[in-house]
């Protein structure tokens, strides 16, 4: 997300701000100095980020280089150094662990792609349809936002309940009422589990895309559309020629955020399937969790997490680069 880096060039405060402290009669206390105050302001954030995010992440990288198992974790100071062997084990496509990791990587990518695409599409359609005044508008907007406002566990457990094979609502509707599928279809095991997880992910995520896109749509000046309508442009044409280009910036950020969330999603598959997901829904977060906490191989789990983070960093950098290049080409 490049917005922060592109914000305002540092330094060069307007004259009055620089003059302010000097004019104060009692003189400036040391911590109100312009050179010191910003560091004091960010200090709590820096400390917390170090404690919860940065240092644990570095510790994770270090752990990935050691043979840390349930036997060595209590004396982690003296765990044997493993070099890159954890990484080799994880990446080897011919070994059982490596091939499962690659497979899990594919599942995660597929899941993220489907949820991002589905959420964006649904959010965009709903936002476009609601971007007109009519009576039920406020109610619909509130209703659409509810799945996103629900606590995560609640939002997912209801789908687990509905996807049950014998007593679930999904089979009752699709098989019993509509005769579209067989009544003995399993949704939570086998290949269908991927789609069960994807639908659940979209249901929970799309309201966020909707919220952002609706806000962005309302920022587009109405005159643009009216001028085009006077010129006889159809609404689909206006959408393509006016709305989409105006949403470009927000879309790029939105898609990246949705992708990062979904790619890292642990909760949806965990609440749907528990600790033993079917292969088709075994996303990276869950696979790593099982490898770390059920098989007690912490070094290997750490190595896999590092690979996952490295992939996300590379993807984000490439994406932001492309975004910048696109912007400069436009200018």
């Amino acid at each position: 997300m490049p917005e922060v880096t592109k914000a305002r060039p540092p330094g060069a405060p307007p004259a009055a701000a620089a003059a302010g402290p000097r004019r104060r009669p009692r003189g400036t206390r040391w911590w109100q100095d312009r050179r010191i105050l910003p560091y004091l302001l960010i200090a709590p954030a820096v400390l917390l980020e170090l404690l919860v995010h940065i240092v644990p992440m570095i510790a994770g990288v270090v752990m990935s280089l050691f043979r840390l198992t349930v036997f060595t974790i209590h004396h982690w100071q003296s765990a044997p150094f493993a070099g890159l062997s954890n990484f080799a084990l994880g990446l080897n496509p011919h070994g059982p662990i490596g091939s499962a990791l690659w497979r899990s990587f594919g599942v995660t990518l597929g899941y993220a792609a489907c949820v991002v695409a589905g959420s964006w599409l649904l959010g965009m359609v709903a936002a476009a349809l609601l971007n007109v005044e009519f009576r039920a508008r406020g109610w619909l907007r509130a209703l659409f936002l509810v799945p996103y406002a629900l606590p995560l566990y609640v939002a997912v457990i209801v789908w687990r309940f509905m996807f049950q094979q014998g007593t679930g609502a999904i089979n009752a509707i699709l098989a019993r009422d509509l005769h579209l599928v067989s009544g003995s279809t399993f949704w939570l095991i086998g290949g269908n589990a991927f789609w069960a997880m994807t639908v659940t992910g979209i249901w929970r995520t799309w309201p966020f895309a909707f919220l952002i896109l609706l806000a962005a749509l309302q920022n587009i000046p109405g005159e643009l559309h009216e001028a085009a309508a006077v010129d006889g442009a159809s609404s689909w044409r206006r959408f393509r020629a006016i709305t989409l280009p105006q949403l470009r910036g927000i879309n790029l950020v939105l898609v990246l955020v949705l992708f990062l969330w979904t790619f890292n999603d642990f909760n949806t598959p965990y609440v749907l399937f528990g600790g033993t997901p079917p292969d088709s829904a075994n996303v990276l977060s869950l696979y790593i969790y099982v490898n770390s906490f059920s098989n007690w191989n912490f070094g290997l789990g750490a190595a896999m997490s590092v690979l996952m983070l490295a992939f996300l960093l590379v993807i984000s950098l490439v994406y932001i680069r492309a975004f910048r290049a696109g912007r400069e080409a436009d200018a």
Binding site: T5, R8, A16, A17, A45, P56, G60, S316
Partner: protein, 279 residues
């Protein structure tokens, strides 16, 4: 702009489909919560064979729901208040001061948002366990540890959004106050924050939602006495059977405060989100 009849019906049709998708699971939650357990364990029926409010009564004794509720309130409220405070300071510094390391700070904070939770869960746990022996403050299994964790989870998004929001406010605001002799912090609290209310509310809502629903870290960092709702609700399923009706009843009770808050504050959310960050 006038809409043709065809366009109006297309709009109605599209919105009906989307509303059905959004609504159906919500309907199932409500409907299941007033069903007797025998209904829940049989084939799905659209309406309960008889409506009972017993699940709303029994859910309190099946698991220590009140206890989990109090835990969640304590953790979420404190984490939210602290997150807003810390993010206001940091976002204000990024927005208003040019200092060495400003860019590195903002980019680093933002990039922590992409850390997979699973990547630092175990290291964080080990750090808490080892650190509490050094500093003498209980971190594992205490409110403190969970509050610190959730508060930090909310920071990247909050700092980013508030910095954007402050950028959209004119600097003359606090400059005038400071010419009148206010200290920078006074100017921030008395002049800037009241104007930044939508941004602050948006940040608070997101921070609260994160803390209220988080599952992964709560499952590792809490013990029985500090267990939060998101973990506690799982106890409605025992090995032999799941009290689905009570689980759904409890889900409604647990969800009401956040859903009501979210919907009540949504106009602030939209304004907060669009002001600076979304351009």
């Amino acid at each position: 702009m006038r809409e043709s009849a065809a366009a109006r019906w297309a709009r109605r049709g599209g919105l009906t489909l989307i509303a059905a998708f959004a609504l159906f699971p919500l309907y199932v939650i409500v409907e299941t919560s007033v069903k007797p357990l025998s209904d829940v364990n049989g084939a799905f029926r659209w309406l309960p064979s008889r409506v009972t409010f017993a699940p709303f009564v029994n859910m309190w004794s099946t698991i220590p729901l009140v206890h989990y509720f109090i835990n969640s309130v304590i953790v979420s409220v404190i984490a939210t208040v602290l997150a807003v405070l810390v993010a206001v300071f940091a976002g204000y510094a990024i927005s208003r001061y040019g200092f060495a390391g400003r860019r590195v700070f903002s980019v680093t904070v933002l990039s922590t948002q992409m850390f997979p939770g699973i990547a630092f869960l175990l290291p964080l746990f080990l750090i808490y366990v080892n650190l509490q022996n050094v500093v003498g403050i209980k971190l594992y299994g205490s409110y403190t540890g969970l509050i610190i964790t959730y508060l930090t989870f909310a920071l990247p998004f909050s700092i980013w959004m508030l910095a954007g929001y402050f950028n959209s406010l004119p600097r003359q605001l606090e400059e005038a106050a400071m010419v009148d002799g206010a200290t920078p912090l006074r100017a921030l609290f008395r002049v800037v924050l009241p104007v930044a209310k939508p941004g602050i509310i948006a940040v608070a809502v997101f921070a609260f939602m994160t803390a209220w629903g988080e599952v992964l870290f709560a499952s590792v960092l809490t013990t029985q006495s500090t267990r939060t709702l998101a973990i506690g609700l799982q106890e409605y399923s025992s090995q032999s059977l799941v009290y689905w009706n009570q689980l759904m009843a409890a889900s409604i009770v647990v969800s009401l405060p956040v859903v009501a808050g979210f919907l009540g504050l949504q106009r602030y959310l939209v304004r907060g989100l669009t002001a600076g960050s979304v351009k």
